[in-house]
Amino acid sequence: MNNELILELKEQIIQALNLEEMTPEDIDTEAPLFGEKGLGLDSIDTLELIMLIEKNYGIKLANPAEGKTIFKSVATLADYVSKNRKK
């Protein structure tokens, strides 16, 4: 797995979602980003993450529902970004 990309994504998530008090080490790469466990992100965060991958990697998600599988964890996100990135 691309550790550099994973660290980069964690830093971007912390910044984009205002998780001020967290560091990349606090985010478990495999843990779910949404729901009660993990980071407990919600629907607005999904939209914010869609904007994040468009801004930083040129990936346009037409259907927000796709986000559910892509944003399951930092690991799934990194996998998707590495396969689909335009920049």
Binding site: E21, S43, I44, L47, E48, M51, K55
Partner: protein
């Protein structure tokens, strides 16, 4: 009893209520597709004034937004034939974003975009001399404003209320709703299977309310209620609990057989329409026809609650239930009665319902009381007698005080709030997502409730959250504007946009504490303790309200915020 003295609508479909009503009765709509308006890359459909209409509305010394609101309020006052330049008249402005289109042009002074500034300009132009109150309660503002007007007249504070709702559209609002994936490219389809989102619209609508009955068959605002979902700041709850409670509050112990229709919010987003259908069914009102008017005007934001109430009165006077334009096949699980065609009715009362960001839901019962037999006994309504302030909390960049005792803190400014969070809360990471205004209100509410000493886990309908300020959501507004200002780096931030409504703080507190009671946010041109007290007293006129967590919370910037908050209890309930 509080009566409708006069009303007006200024929209792309006409400049009087009659013109607007005739337009929608014959199926006209001002919705139009725009492909590159305001340099917004994604196409959208909206109901906007044409350039010629805009020029005709322009008034020297007023902004585009102010001139629109003024045009509607002026016509309504003329029709009412009352003198407004006395201490007996209050101006209530309902808006979500007022002059926000000026935010890219500010130079040091933020006041031009404060909604209270706009309210003052409009009131002065109208010749109204009392301090104007702006209702900034997101999409439910219009209904909230009518309820406030009703309460202030019933309480004897004023004889007349000029209640005006308005919003204009701009890159700020359209891109924001697009960032939330809520905007449809084509004309919206309320409650339909194929609905994909809302359209935005520009309009102003005014109702002049008064205590004196103008004629034998005058319309009256019979009841009004606001309830919160306590679920999410931008999504309605799945079971429509807040909307159900608001509907039940305004129809309880009344003869619902008198209702001609329920005018729903019907924005045509997936979640709103689904939630409303569930709420109507759960309130056992699903035998009454339902309609929605967004297919004619789009969502006119601060105007919507007033515009749709005025049109519903005109329709009921014409014995007509206006068809839901854009609707074809029911695409909601609640079994509600909808039609795209106009229908005839011999009944005359109706319920206007509305829901919005911050979890707020409003409903009013509007009707014509029978001679000598009012629908609602005025004595049922609450009074201000026997209210006690139980706790007080104030917070400024210099420190925090609980009932006069200064808390030991070391940080100042914005960092003070985070220090207070870590020291006194520390189990609610949502705090870090909040904008400055929400953090301030949240910390003040936590300190108040800790001083109160007990917290209940069960949902409470008897707790209301009522705040006022001056600078609205200026911090969040600037934060969101930064995400759209640069065309080369245009990435509208949904997380920033949701906080560009000041009433979100009331929703955050309701969610944290499971409060299902009223949530309201008001804006004043300046801090005025008498007016704040009047607004809090008005909230107690809802007899379901026993406790109010509220006061003043203003967050113009990280160095100048101020909270003066309290828990106040009505001892008689």
């Amino acid at each position: 009893m509080v009566y409708r003295i006069a009303d007006n609508i200024v929209s792309p479909l006409g400049e009087t209520t009659a013109e607007n009503y005739q337009a929608i009765k014959t199926g006209s709509s001002a919705l139009c597709r725009y492909d590159h308006r305001w340099q917004i890359p994604e196409p959208f459909t909206a109901s906007l004034f044409t350039e010629a209409q805009g020029r005709a509305l322009a008034v020297s010394g007023l902004t585009r937004f102010e001139a629109l609101a003024y045009a509607s309020a002026r016509r309504a006052i003329e029709d009412a034939a009352i003198c407004v330049a006395t201490a007996n008249t209050v101006f209530i402005l309902s808006t979500t974003k007022g002059n926000i289109e000026l935010i890219g042009q500010l130079s040091g002074d933020d006041r031009p975009v404060y909604p209270g500034t706009a309210a003052r300009h409009i009131a002065e132009k109208l010749g109204i001399t009392t301090l104007p109150v702006t209702v900034c309660n997101a999409c439910i503002s219009g209904v909230s404003a009518i309820i406030l007007g009703m309460r202030l007249i019933e309480a004897g504070q004023f004889d007349y209320a000029v209640v005006c709702g308005a919003d204009v559209q701009s890159k700020f609002t359209v891109s924001g709703f697009q960032s939330l994936k809520a905007v449809a490219e084509e004309a919206c389809r309320p409650f339909d299977m194929e609905r994909v989102g809302l359209n935005l619209g520009e309009a102003a609508a005014t109702i002049v309310l008064g205590r004196e009955k103008p004629s034998a068959d005058s319309w009256a605002i019979l009841r009004g209620a606001v309830r919160n979902d306590a679920f999410h700041i931008s999504s309605p709850s799945k079971n429509g609990e807040g909307a159900r409670l608001a509907l039940s509050a305004v129809t309880k112990d009344t003869d619902t057989g008198r209702l001609a229709f329920i005018n729903a919010h019907g924005t045509a987003t997936m979640f709103n329409d689904q939630m409303e259908s569930v709420a109507i069914e759960r309130a056992a009102l699903n035998t009454i026809p339902v309609n929605a008017l967004k297919g004619y005007y789009g969502h006119t934001l601060g105007a919507a609650g007033i515009l749709e109430t005025v049109l519903s009165m005109a329709a009921a006077d014409d014995h007509t239930i206006i068809g839901t334009r854009g609707f074809a096949e029911r695409g909601v699980s609640g079994r509600v009665l909808l039609s795209s065609e106009n229908a005839i009715t011999c009944k005359h009362d109706f319920v206007k319902m509305i829901s919005g960001f911050g979890g707020g839901n409003g409903a009013i019962l509007v009707g014509k009381e029978e001679q000598g037999k009012p629908c609602v006994d005025g004595n049922e309504r609450g009074s201000k007698r026997g209210c006690t302030i139980r706790q007080r909390v104030s917070v400024t960049p210099a420190g925090a005080f609980v009932n006069g005792r200064k808390l030991e803190t070391t940080a100042t400014g914005k960092a003070l709030l985070t220090e207070l969070y870590k020291c006194y809360v520390d189990d609610y990471p949502r705090y870090y997502k909040m904008d400055g205004l929400c953090r301030l209100g949240f910390i003040a509410s936590e300190l108040l409730l800790q001083a109160e000493g007990h917290r209940e886990e069960a949902p409470r309908e008897d707790w209301a959250v009522v705040f006022a300020n001056r600078s609205s959501s200026i911090g969040a507004d600037k934060c969101y504007q930064a995400s759209i200002q640069d065309a080369e780096n245009y990435y509208p931030s949904p997380a920033a946009f949701v906080y560009t409504l000041p009433n979100i703080v009331t929703g955050e507190i309701a969610i944290r504490n499971h409060y299902l009671g009223e949530t309201s946010f008001y804006i004043l041109p300046e801090k005025d303790d008498n007016t704040i007290a009047m607004l809090i007293e008005a909230a107690f006129q809802d007899t379901a309200t026993k406790y109010i967590l509220g006061g003043w919370i203003d967050y113009p910037d990280d160095a100048h915020f101020a909270a003066e908050t309290y828990i106040i209890m009505n001892d008689e309930r």
